[in-house]
Symmetry: C2
Subunit: 198 residues, 2 copies
C-alpha cells in the first residue's frame, strides 16, 4: 500500500504519453530523491511552460511572444513555407538548419473518421499567408498515410490554381538503415522514387 | 530555438533517471497538451509527495505518518524481518502478498569503493530491532553482486552469535525465462541450488 501522495503522483505521470505503470512508479519514486528545492523549481517550470507558451499568431509555432522568432526574422527566404502537422516538427527542421524559409503548423491532418475537416485545421490561414506574401513553393513535411495523403491532395488542389508549387518531402529508406528491416511499402516507394546516380 | 520555459522544463525532465534528451522533450511537449488545471494539480502533487512522504522511523519504509502501516500492524508475523535495499522493494514484496512479517530498509549496501560503510546504513537499527523483538529469522532480499554479498555476510556475522537465522532469497532462473537467455553465472547458481523434485 503506497503512501497516498505517491499514488497520486504516479497517476499524474501515467497521463503522459508512453508512460506506463512501471515507468510512472519509477519517476514518482525518484521525485523523492530530489531536494525539495529541485521539486519546487520543477513544479514551477511546469506551470511556467504551460502558461507562457502559446502558438505563434502567424504560423502556429510554439512561442512565448505573440509572433515567433522565425516569423519575426526578415532575413529568411520569403518564397517558401514548410507545412508541418505539429509545432514540434518545426524545431526538428530548425535543427537541420539548412531550411531557411518560413513554417506553417496545420495542427493536425484531415481525417473524416475522427471528424477532422479542413476547417478544423489552419489551412485557410495557410492560403491567406501564401497569397498575401506571394509564396512560390509550399513544402509539405507531413508523415505518410491516408490522412496525410488526403491533406496533401486537398492543399495541392487549393493552391495549384494560383500556380503555386506544392511539394512533399521524399519517402524512402532512412540513411544508414538496414535493408532487411525496411517494410515492403517503403522499399517500393524508394524504388519508384529512384534517382540517377551522379 | 525552443521557447525558454520549454527548454527549462526539458532540463528538469532530464534529471529523472532513465530519461534522455528525446524522452524529456516528448514529456515537456506533452505538458502543453494538458489543461492548465491538470498541470497545476500535477505540480502540486509533486510538492505534496516530496513534503509528505518520509521514511518510517522504525523500518525505513516510505510513509506519510511517523510509523508506517506495516510496523503499526500487530497481526503480522513478529518472528521475521525481511531486509531490503530500498523502500521501493518493500512494496514489491507487499504486492506478492504472501510475506506476512516485518521489513527493514537498509538504505543501500556496504560498498568500500563508494565509501559506504555499515554505519552509513541502518544496520545498527536492524540489530536493535532484531534483539529487542526477539526476531527468529532475518531474510535478506537484496540483489546479487559483491556489495550485496559483503553486506549479507556482514549482517550474518553480527546476528549468528545471537542464534538468529539469516537467510537470503534464492538465485536461479526466473519463472518462464528462456534458458538460452540466462547468463552462465545464473545457470551455475541455479544448478548448485537445485532441489529434489517432489
Amino acid at each position: 500500500m503506497l503512501p497516498k501522495s505517491l499514488v497520486d503522483l504516479i497517476e499524474y505521470f501515467k497521463k503522459f504519453p508512453g508512460i506506463g505503470e512501471k515507468t510512472a512508479e519509477r519517476l514518482a519514486f525518484s521525485v523523492l530523491n530530489f531536494d525539495i528545492e529541485e521539486v519546487t523549481e520543477f513544479s514551477k517550470a511546469l506551470c511556467n511552460a504551460k502558461s507562457n507558451i502559446k502558438p505563434c499568431s502567424v504560423c502556429g509555432t510554439l512561442t512565448e511572444s505573440d509572433i515567433c522568432f522565425i516569423c519575426r526574422d526578415d532575413s529568411r527566404d520569403s518564397d517558401s513555407i514548410l507545412v508541418v502537422e505539429n509545432s514540434k516538427d518545426v524545431f526538428l527542421f530548425e535543427r537541420i538548419g539548412n531550411y531557411n524559409g518560413y513554417y506553417h503548423v496545420l495542427g493536425g491532418l484531415i481525417s473524416p473518421l475522427d471528424e477532422i475537416g479542413p476547417d478544423d485545421l489552419s489551412i485557410n490561414l495557410l492560403l491567406e499567408r501564401v497569397r498575401n506574401n506571394n509564396i512560390k513553393e509550399v513544402v509539405l513535411a507531413i508523415k505518410t498515410g491516408i490522412e496525410a495523403d488526403t491533406t496533401a491532395l486537398y492543399i495541392k488542389k487549393l493552391l495549384e490554381k494560383d500556380g503555386i508549387i506544392v511539394t512533399r518531402i521524399a519517402n524512402g529508406i532512412p540513411i544508414g538503415a538496414d535493408m532487411e528491416y525496411i517494410d515492403v511499402l517503403t522499399l517500393e516507394t524508394a524504388l519508384n522514387n529512384r534517382k540517377e546516380v551522379f
